[in-house]
Symmetry: C3
Subunit: 382 residues, 3 copies
Amino acid sequence: MAAPDPIAAAMGVRGCLRAVSSYSSPQVVVVRNGHLGTAYRALQLLVLLYFTGYVFIIQKGYQEREMGPESSIITKVKGVTQSPSKVWDVGEYVAPPEGGSTFSILTRVDISPAQAMETCPEGRAVANATCSSDQDCVPRDTDTSGHGERTGRCVPQAGGTGKSCEVLAWCPVDGDSISESLAEMASQFTVLIKNNIHFPRFGFSKGNIQASESGYLKSCMFNTTSALYCPIFKLGFLVEQAGEDFAELAEKGGVIGVIISWNCNLDLPDAECNPHYSFRRLDPKGALASQGYNYRFAKYYNWNGTRSRVLIKAYGIRVDVIVHGQAGKFSLIPTIITLATALTSVGLGSFVCDWILLCCMDKEQRYSSRKFEQVSPGCRCG
Amino acid sequence: MAAPDPIAAAMGVRGCLRAVSSYSSPQVVVVRNGHLGTAYRALQLLVLLYFTGYVFIIQKGYQEREMGPESSIITKVKGVTQSPSKVWDVGEYVAPPEGGSTFSILTRVDISPAQAMETCPEGRAVANATCSSDQDCVPRDTDTSGHGERTGRCVPQAGGTGKSCEVLAWCPVDGDSISESLAEMASQFTVLIKNNIHFPRFGFSKGNIQASESGYLKSCMFNTTSALYCPIFKLGFLVEQAGEDFAELAEKGGVIGVIISWNCNLDLPDAECNPHYSFRRLDPKGALASQGYNYRFAKYYNWNGTRSRVLIKAYGIRVDVIVHGQAGKFSLIPTIITLATALTSVGLGSFVCDWILLCCMDKEQRYSSRKFEQVSPGCRCG
Amino acid sequence: MAAPDPIAAAMGVRGCLRAVSSYSSPQVVVVRNGHLGTAYRALQLLVLLYFTGYVFIIQKGYQEREMGPESSIITKVKGVTQSPSKVWDVGEYVAPPEGGSTFSILTRVDISPAQAMETCPEGRAVANATCSSDQDCVPRDTDTSGHGERTGRCVPQAGGTGKSCEVLAWCPVDGDSISESLAEMASQFTVLIKNNIHFPRFGFSKGNIQASESGYLKSCMFNTTSALYCPIFKLGFLVEQAGEDFAELAEKGGVIGVIISWNCNLDLPDAECNPHYSFRRLDPKGALASQGYNYRFAKYYNWNGTRSRVLIKAYGIRVDVIVHGQAGKFSLIPTIITLATALTSVGLGSFVCDWILLCCMDKEQRYSSRKFEQVSPGCRCG
């Protein structure tokens, strides 16, 4: 710590001159003791090792860092599959189609083929929908899990034996939909993930595709060792790497995270800055309630003059691409700060040794009489 | 700070031995003065309190931390409502339908029912659209806020008295659309927000649903005290918690942020790591210009052989789910660093007291003659 | 560093009293040497300059900071253009239509007008699709880049001379689609980007629109100097600012990043906290493989009783709006920490000067005999 003598001295030119012609340094007691000396040097060594090994080499304390690069992701799915009623190509099973960082690939659909706006009995699964007479059905009443507004009449259920309240809704309601699986070929679908990052502070950009020829991406497949720069993944590969069973995931739906990490040391050549891929299921899989991933959407037709829709409850594998990144580059200021901290910390050894010495070993106060000099400013007697 | 004696001494084996058999410690002047002593101890106490109270207990300086967990969000809306012309269920009023972290629930629609590509008079709201003769309409001219390319003819306005330039556009243009409100039941819609987080450094995952039985989510509703792990919210509840008026928001549209914070101390049992929900309107509400939230989309029909579309200007409540998070766990290195900083800082008391003493109290320089020993290396006279 | 005397002394009431009635300060050797003194003061000056200039003034070390504000983005595109077959307005060329932070504006489309599910020859571009007899086509075989499941028959190609395996697919397959450009007016489209940020720690919110009258946004256009708070951009302006050629980008597609930075010093009036816009192409433009941005989507029609679709391969300019931000405000704790670090660092000068002195100048050990006092606790001889 800076001794405050400059302040006291720096009055007038003479003080100034004196301040520049001298410097102050702390006075030190050298204690001759083998045990303490060894402990002291061991402590200093430890601190030095920590700073050189951990702070400098592992944490790269001499570098300026930038986290969270600007990142762009373009994804593209390829493949075609068939369900009993339909051929599914990319235009059909990828949603949303825009090729962003989050997209879902449908693997199972429950289709309600031709719904129109009219009145029909409420679905059996809806709470309080069963009735015995019109008195049980309050007109204009709407149930949160229901399909529409009640008309107030009690009518026979669609394919059942009981009676349900009639509703004005998209009819027939989606209780008796047809379930079709698209999973037959889905594990063979390929997903291309184009990712480009940019660290604005260092003006450094890099992408995850490095092609020596224009047709490279047509024939390659991702491989950590030999094809790191070919980001084309089979959907089955993604699911397997995340430790999941494809058939089960396709049945119930789920979210697979593709995590791309860029950890770049810009003091090395650019070729050393490589993406690292990891894969993990992001939604809870063992959950008791509300498992999997599904959503509803509709397609519209003009069917014999009336507007009708096809409502699809889609189960799918959602792929979330997450990009992490950090870059570091040598910079003077963090280097100096780390060095200064290291030097300051080396002095902690004295503190620990003093503690031991004063508490346990300094019986005759020989040491403390040397370390501590008494002074009483204000009275003449030292 | 480390005195540089080891460097001077550590030459040869003898120097090495000497270095290990002794340690150095700063020499200290003990100043007997009640006021300064009290101030000194008070300062030390303050520093200690700051480190134990703020750094250790509040900021948990002994922990390694990880910010920004990997997070996945699946949302699902339920409910049904009715406008004069239509029944609206989830397939109709949620966009995009994929159940991601951002979705909008339509609350009002301006419908332009049957537009086809043909020529018609430009809308009255478009600047420079009114004309008195064909000379006023430049053929092939397009206005940014207009609906299509001008044909060059000046024709009578649709339901008006004036004349407008004719355009080749989706006709009739959307000036005279029908406005319908869906807000009747919208405040009763339920929004389920499934969120799962993962801290990769600590290998810790947790979700915001904890169900003891599979049907739990069918009957529960979010409540901070009794149903924290039932993330089902009424849309009206979200809007109310954000401090907004539902009717007004439904009329003009807006963006409601649902902010989920995970602040986890992993030294405690997992059950202590709980999500915290907060709700805030994210778009500016008092803005003079461009208030609210709306967008246009189209649906297509094959109407009597010609392709026509329904253009919908949709006002809605957009829900943005934002996840924050941090986790901390005891780790040796931050603990040591914080301790070392604390010990170093305790010494700052001497500095302040020296300042006071040397500046104001040390008239006869008794203290400074003890604290500062003069030495002139190079000349014999000390 | 705190000398451990309080621990030794603070035993019993007397020790306690003594501890409060005195304070300890390191003893200091003042070395009279012009060169070293100058070096010492110069070092101290450097450290002081670094702390006042860099840490305090540039890095604002006296402020508490918050990174990553909560942010909401609403976007809206305006404009209309024409391709040979169609008028394209916002409802047609913006996808997804919801006005979020990522959207694409179509600039070129390859249209496959009327596809239906039936059998037809596979496209010529598909590997292994050409055949000479039925033996070359394995029934139920599906190629990843193909359009459907093979029937096992070898049939003449659509408009060609060779033969292809027949597939059950959306036919005719998209090999012979019609390409149409929408780029004619696209550079004149306007993009409104409403952005609002909120720093929860400081309770500070601000938006990027400041209008004095309600019609302001109808007539203004973004300009860094005179219309910073009018976030309306021509698409051509965005592309140009990103350093790209509009015609080329519209042809192949690409991703333009609009980066909004909020760097707010909350110690100043709110009016000093302004957004800063920058524009950059986010996808790699010189890539050999898989250049540009395109995706496929379908629209459905009921065409003479059979469901048919229009498949569109869309090339477009995707706009990604990225918001960065940080805010700082004066706070006591970071101020004290920075000050303490500064004071501690000023002492580093002694360390460097000691090193020079002891290594190079202290021939007669006059200095070191003063700096280092030897003591051997345990034996009587000092």
